[in-house]
C-alpha cells in the first residue's frame, strides 16, 4: 500500500496522517482533511506488509508512544485521535 497523496488547495502545512483502514475515527479524520481542502498524504498501516508495516508503525509510535490512531502530523505538531477542534486549530 504505502502513502496516498490527496491534493488540496490548502498547502500551508505539511500534513501526514497515520491511520488504520478499519478505524472509524481515522475515516472521520480523512473526511475532515478533504472537507477542509487540505493537501496531505495518509497511510493505512494495517494494509501494509512486512518491513513497511514495521517501519510505519515504529514511526507512528515515535510520534505517539500510546500507540493509538489516528496520528496526525501538522508540521511539527502531533494530534492523536479525532478531535476536530484541535485539528482545525492546527491547520489554521
Amino acid at each position: 500500500m504505502g502513502f496516498v497523496r490527496v491534493d488540496g488547495k490548502d498547502k500551508k502545512h505539511k500534513v501526514v496522517l497515520y491511520a488504520l483502514s478499519t478505524c472509524g475515527w481515522c475515516r472521520r479524520t480523512k473526511e475532515l482533511l478533504v472537507e477542509e481542502g487540505v493537501d496531505h498524504e495518509y497511510v493505512d498501516i494495517d494494509l501494509c506488509n512486512g518491513d513497511e508495516k514495521e517501519k510505519l508503525s515504529t514511526k507512528a509510535r515515535e510520534l505517539n508512544p500510546r500507540g493509538n490512531y489516528p496520528v496526525l502530523q501538522v508540521d511539527d505538531r502531533v494530534i492523536v485521535g479525532y478531535d476536530p477542534d484541535k485539528i482545525r486549530e492546527a491547520l489554521a
Binding site: 488504520l20 478499519t22 478505524c23 472509524g24 475515527w25 493509538n68 489516528p70 485521535g81 478531535d83 476536530p84
Partner: protein, 180 residues
C-alpha cells in the same frame, strides 16, 4: 423502504448480517450500538475484514500483533469497553455507546486509550490460571466450585469450567479467567 435499508445496501451481506446480530446481542445485554448506522456498519465491516485477516475480531481501531494471545484483550468486545462506555460514553471505536452519547450529552470524538502500556508494547499477558485474579475467600472458605469471570463484562459463574459463551455480553469461553 427506510433510509437505514439504503445504507445497508452498500455493504456486503455478511457485514449486514453481523451488524444485526451484534445489535440484537447488544440490546439483550443492556448495551447500545452507535446509532450512526453507516459509521457502525463500517466498523462491523472492519471486524469482518479482521476475522479474515487474523482469524478473530481484532478491534478495528487498534493495530494487531496478529497473534490471538497478544491481542485477546482487544478482541471485540474488548476488556476496556465497559469502563470506557461508563467514563466517556463510548468504547474506543465508538461501536458501543451509552444513552448519554445517543442523547448528545457527551462529545462524539476519540477517547483516550485505556489499554495498559505494557500490553500495547508487548501484547496481552495472561494471568496464570493457577493464580486466581480475585481475593482469596475470607476465613479460608473452601468453595465447592471455582468461580470464572468474564473479562469483558464481569459476569461470574461458579462451575467446573467457564461457559462456552457469556450469557450477558456473548464473549467466548477464552475471554474468561479463573477468579476464585
Amino acid at each position: 423502504m427506510t433510509a437505514g435499508d439504503d445504507v445497508e445496501k452498500t455493504f456486503a451481506p455478511d457485514v449486514v448480517e453481523l451488524f444485526h446480530r451484534l445489535d440484537r446481542e447488544a440490546r439483550e445485554g443492556g448495551y447500545n450500538l452507535n446509532p450512526d448506522k453507516e459509521f457502525t456498519l463500517r466498523l462491523v465491516e472492519g471486524l469482518v475484514a479482521n476475522q479474515k485477516r487474523y482469524g478473530y475480531w481484532q478491534c478495528p481501531c487498534r493495530l494487531a500483533f496478529g497473534e490471538k494471545a497478544k491481542d485477546i484483550d482487544v478482541v471485540c468486545p474488548c476488556y476496556y469497553r465497559d469502563a470506557d462506555v461508563v467514563e466517556f460514553g463510548a468504547c474506543y471505536c465508538a461501536l458501543y455507546v451509552s444513552e448519554e452519547w445517543i442523547a448528545g450529552k457527551v462529545p462524539q470524538r476519540s477517547i483516550p486509550e485505556r489499554r495498559p502500556q505494557e500490553f500495547i508494547d508487548r501484547g496481552y499477558s495472561k494471568p496464570s490460571p493457577a493464580e486466581p485474579a480475585g481475593a482469596a475467600p475470607a476465613g479460608g472458605l473452601k468453595l465447592p466450585y471455582p468461580v470464572w469471570r468474564c473479562q469483558v463484562c464481569g459476569y461470574l459463574a461458579a462451575r467446573d469450567g467457564p461457559p462456552g459463551v457469556c450469557p450477558v455480553c456473548f464473549a467466548k469461553k477464552d475471554r474468561f479467567e479463573r477468579f476464585l
